[in-house]
Chain length 261, copies 2
Amino acid sequence: MIMNEEEEKQPKNYNTQKYRTPDGVPADIVMFTLTKRERKTVTKTLPIRELKVMLIRRRSWPFAGKWALPGGFCRESESIYDAAKRELKEETGVDGGHLEYLGVYSQPGRDPRGWIISNAFFALVEEWMLEQRQAADDAEEVGLFGIHEALEQLELAFDHREIIRDAYIKIQQKMLQTTIAKQFLPKHFTLSELYQVIQTVVPEFKEPNFIRKITSTQSRQGILEEVRDETGKKLSSNQYSQRSAQLYMFTDDVPLLSIYT
Amino acid sequence: MIMNEEEEKQPKNYNTQKYRTPDGVPADIVMFTLTKRERKTVTKTLPIRELKVMLIRRRSWPFAGKWALPGGFCRESESIYDAAKRELKEETGVDGGHLEYLGVYSQPGRDPRGWIISNAFFALVEEWMLEQRQAADDAEEVGLFGIHEALEQLELAFDHREIIRDAYIKIQQKMLQTTIAKQFLPKHFTLSELYQVIQTVVPEFKEPNFIRKITSTQSRQGILEEVRDETGKKLSSNQYSQRSAQLYMFTDDVPLLSIYT
DNA sequence: AAAATAGTGTCTCTGAGACACTATATA
DNA sequence: TATATAGTGTCTCAGAGACACTATTTT
């Protein structure tokens, strides 16, 4: 911000505490991860994937014993996004991961401690980041829950059920309309893996001709690219199947969708 | 929220003012309107439309004399959305209009008055609502500016340029991906009007076969519906053209887009 | 050979895109 | 009659959807 001298002088009679002010503005984070569990079968097969949410069991009032989103109060010297980033790092020990703003939760009475306005984020992190966290700080009870278990069976603190529900809706939208699937995949992946990741987050997604469409249609060509070696030969992998499958990677293209075209 | 007795008892030693707390959490609103100006031509023609933003000239420190978004501080007894709704009503005198959350602005130093975290909204209102406002309260200087004028030429208070830019990006996205165009149209409208509204908000939008596509394609049939009278006869209007044009209305369908299908 | 997954051939039908054409009303 | 806007005829080609088929590798 650029200001000139004149307007920068704060009037002597200006009092910031004239009105009741909030008691705190925390950032709470819905941390999603996609767990991968190898299946013990006779033949090679894709691992079972599951969308999970990380929660922390509260130890003190209010909602002691209930599960809650990780989060922390924002400080005056940082933006709310910075606070969320700091919190994410504290929980995972890692700087990376997708972190995105979700919304503000300000219903009066949502926090018995006072007038506390929460800013929610969601993060997509890798499973190992959370495991690291659990090892580092075993003073706090950390849990990884399937999204439906968290939403339907757990006793949650504050309005965190609502926040998790909103985050789930948003991640499903984003999974179909952006390329965040890449957050849950290695750099190079097969189309079956991609399909499985999409279906894990959005079970309703069904696309019988998925491979055909994604490879043959002009409009989709932009977002995926075949992986090739130095000589230009296409690379494939048979990690999860008998016949080896072509490897793909996301490009940096962000497709723009419209209902009118 | 349902709580049992036990956990609801606030510990005596709990002090909500242990830490520095924010000095206020306002809701600021980017109020968009689409002005319609009749053209004086020999033949009937569509009015010229323009996307405008309503701003208020600040009278006191800080940023006295600069243009700013309308807004007001949130009270303890209301949610931030309620505060925005209240503010919108104060400015327009009307309860209606599309009001949607935009995001939080919390960069340290953004407000010289202290630690003030703004929650931005955008609203789509009709022009007459703002005219009413201007008449009601002539103590305050109100201005309607073209979006590009506001972004590129005006001296704006706080970080309001950034907020307006973000709101502009969001309204453009929403215009293409949802049916908010209906906020800028009468209940019944012609396809030329719809096309013009879309182009006014998103100048890059070009669709030579617009009428053909929107009427002939299955996937689009869901969102628009022909207007008919009681006997089922299609209704048309020649308000803006020689030959009368079919009238349409939006259905309640919300199309779900995906980059993978 | 059987099984499992990857990927193709091929057919049908919808719809996008282009452009010239017709239709309706007004100056 | 000229003009302005609304809307259609028609052709070509891309691509969606279905389903049987082939390809590759492991058991």
